[in-house]
Symmetry: C2
Subunit: 203 residues, 2 copies
DNA sequence: CATAGTTTTAAATGGTTGTTTAAATTATTC
DNA sequence: GAATAATTTAAACAACCATTTAAAACTATG
């Protein structure tokens, strides 16, 4: 049976995701969510028992999304340089499509780390990728600098994600329009690729 | 006349700074601040008129602090490599001493960029440093890669600040204690220095 | 010590919060 | 199509929010 109209439960969840991502847990009220979903206030609790439960459900989905594509790319059977390039491209796209995601995750985890780490299976997946094997082989062969996965990954992620995290500051600092900023980001992207690859690959 | 005990106004401001940095504007109540300062609730409004006014005052101080030492270092009469190294060391120290600062600034600006940028004189100071001149000279002489200040600065800041922003994730991801994390951060620091300097300096 | 000014207090303000209730409406089942 | 279950609604709940009030306590000055 096809459903043209979204089910109420999903409508609320989607609306809540949008509002939570934009305003964070503390900045969001149950009434904000109901208004965004265009539904009665009581329904939030009817379907999800509490604001907290709804939030936790959404957070773990967003957190999984943050890692999922990364794991996919890390497992691709392509060369290291190409892989790093693709990782960086993917991160750029992610920051463009989901500009609120990273700051949301960082901020919520920062406020209460313990409550949010429950059954995170992405973690093991992230450590056991083909990329880790590639790195080890390259290091053994002397073509890749001796660098552990957990040191390399932040070097990649930070460069891309940070400039978007600090986008409002950059815009203000150098008097940029949104268009200017995207140009700036493109330039930055090439620097990042070049810098990381030339550091990683020996000779 | 010496004051052994802090004045009430300062006590409130200091307490508010601590709470705001930890929980953000939305997560902080006037009662939280009064409790932290060990004072009556009404005093917050007696001295600062409103929670919003108190917040804005604190935010602009924190934001200035975030840039102040950076500007100082950029104006030092030392070599580029040494300067980058010092910048990185400074950022590490800052993240250790004020672990809440960067995520606080990023998050508050992200939520409402316009309200927080009022009379930020640090911006011009940041663009007109001795470091900019050094870069231009190096580029002209062919010893430094053609890289604009606004592209280089994020490369430095991101690497350091991001790993601390993602500290809870790293700890969870690689099962680290706080001690383990500090060791990890030290290793990362050396990679960052080496990577940025070897990219920037030609030959 | 009286008085004027400043600081602190307990209590109350009106509004908003997350959540619940119980009735009304719609959908499903036999 | 009547009975049962699931969904939606308006209204209410106590708790808490930022802020204000007006009286009390304190300090300084003459």
């Amino acid at each position: 049976m096809k459903c043209i109209t979204e089910k109420s439960e999903d409508k609320i969840k989607d609306a809540a995701r949008r509002v939570f991502l934009k305003k964070g847990f503390d900045g969001t009220t149950s009434r904000d969510i109901a208004r965004e979903a265009d539904m009665n206030i009581a329904l939030t609790n009817y379907y999800f028992r509490s604001k907290e439960k709804l939030f936790l459900e959404i957070f773990s989905e967003v957190f999984a999304q943050y890692f999922s594509n990364t794991i996919e790319i890390l497992n691709k059977k392509i060369g290291i340089k190409e892989k790093i390039s693709e990782m960086i491209e993917h991160d750029f796209d992610m920051m463009k499509n989901e500009p609120d995601m990273v700051i949301f995750i960082m901020n919520e985890i920062h406020k209460e780390p313990d409550r949010l780490f429950t059954g995170m299976s992405h973690f093991k997946q992230l450590q056991e990728t083909y990329f880790t094997k590639q790195l080890e082989e390259g290091i053994a062969a002397g073509t890749i600098r001796d660098l552990r996965m957990e040191n390399l990954l932040p070097l990649i992620k930070c460069s891309v994600e940070f400039i978007y995290l600090a986008k409002p500051i950059h815009k203000k600092l150098y008097n940029m329009t949104d268009e200017d900023f995207e140009k700036f980001a493109e330039t930055q992207k090439e620097h990042i690729k070049e810098m990381i690859c030339s550091y990683l690959v020996i000779g």
